[in-house]
Amino acid sequence: MTSLFDRFKGRREPTSAEIAKERLKLVLVSDRSDLSPEKLQELQTELIQVIKRYIHIDEMEVQIKFEQRDRKNYLVADIPLQRDRSYALATDDDTPPSETPPAPSQTPVTEEQPEDETMGIDAE
């Protein structure tokens, strides 16, 4: 969402054409999919809940967005996994990593150093 603006941050202000292009890309996502930004956020939250039941993920880094290739829209999820070394030992106990959605700030850092492996889900 911020890609283009980030790239130019600190370097120069984006031109008005760049702003137009970025705005168009965003508005066309909802035009084409009939999915409002709020609904997309809801989808992301629910998807995280489901995936968390199976696998450790770095919640804060999850990104769900629409992408356009040719004239097809893709829902693309970037879900970084947390490589948790202690987890390998703990697997026989069937409990999922965390039952309650932790407050975002608690999730990563402390013991596990997240080494990012990215699990990409592409769905049209």
């Binding site: 031109t15 008005s16 054409a17 760049e18 137009a20 292009k21 705005r23 168009l24 890309k25 508005v27 066309l28 035009d31 084409r32 356009q68 040719d70 004239r71």
Partner: protein, 270 residues
């Protein structure tokens, strides 16, 4: 003969559909093709005035559909070019006076009489657009390098793609300004193509002569006039007939020969 029926549409109004229809029709006729253009904008007819044929209309499209005249009687011949005819829209009726089936019937009567049938679609996505789309073998989407026009073009492309029968779509970017694109103040051709992912048929530079030509009712492509828009329309007409005519770059930020040359000089000068 088996004419190709090409519908020219845009979603947004004022992007240059009618101007493009008139200029392409004349350019195709000048290439020796027999062309009929149909103004499908019932109630807001304009193709007649842009082509300069407004004083010669006797019957219109609705008269034909409702059986008040023969199709042949409603066709206005443009005497300035070999084989060009206009089927005008009705001015005092509304879009619901004809149906998509009427348009299919009408064009099927003309298909064996000419090479090209160009349909000037009204703006919007409703009845009039549906009428214009129904008989189309191909669709040309006109857009401007401007956020609102590109958004509407995207919508129209989606609607055409949703048709059960596959209708090829191509894109014409109208009113492009090289200097603004260079400054980053106008979406470039590549920007628009990135967003719309639709084959590009041509780029028409902004050209004041367009206004002059519609003032006079004399399309720019009429008498081999020079000028950026006239030439761009003629190129598009040739592409429509299958000729390989390269599309000139317009103010793109990278890759332009003059620009590269300019950069080279600036670098060596510094």
């Amino acid at each position: 003969m088996g004419a190709r029926v090409i519908t020219i549409t845009s979603g947004k109004g004022g992007v240059g559909k009618t101007t493009a229809t008139a200029n392409l029709a004349v350019a195709l006729a000048n290439l020796g093709k027999k062309v009929v253009c149909i103004d499908a904008d019932i109630g807001l007819r304009n193709l007649d005035i842009v082509m300069g044929l407004e004083n010669r209309i006797v019957y219109d499209l609705v008269d034909v559909v409702e059986g008040r005249c023969k199709l042949r009687q409603a066709l206005v011949k443009d005497k300035r070019v070999p084989d060009l005819y206009l089927l005008p829209a009705a001015q005092t009726r509304d879009k619901t006076a004809i149906s998509p089936q009427d348009m299919v019937m009408l064009t099927s009567q003309l298909r064996n009489e000419c090479d090209f049938i160009l349909i000037d679609s009204p703006a919007g996505i409703e009845w009039g657009f549906r009428n214009a789309l129904a008989p189309a073998d191909e669709v040309i989407i006109i857009t401007n390098p401007e956020a609102s026009a590109v958004r509407d073009a995207d919508r129209i492309i989606g609607l055409v793609e949703a048709e059960p029968r596959k209708v090829p779509i191509s894109l014409v970017i109208n009113r492009a300004k090289a200097d603004m694109i260079r400054k980053g103040d106008m979406l470039s051709v590549n920007d628009v193509l990135d967003i719309l992912s639709t084959p590009l048929l041509g780029v028409i530079p902004e050209d004041e002569q367009i206004i002059v030509s519609s003032n006079k009712g004399s399309p720019l492509t009429l008498d081999n006039q020079k000028g950026p828009a006239a030439e761009a329309f003629r190129d598009i007409a040739r592409r429509i007939t299958g000729a390989k005519v390269p599309i000139a770059e317009l103010g793109e930020k990278r890759g332009g020969f003059l620009r590269r040359l300019g950069r080279l000089f600036r670098r060596s000068g510094a």
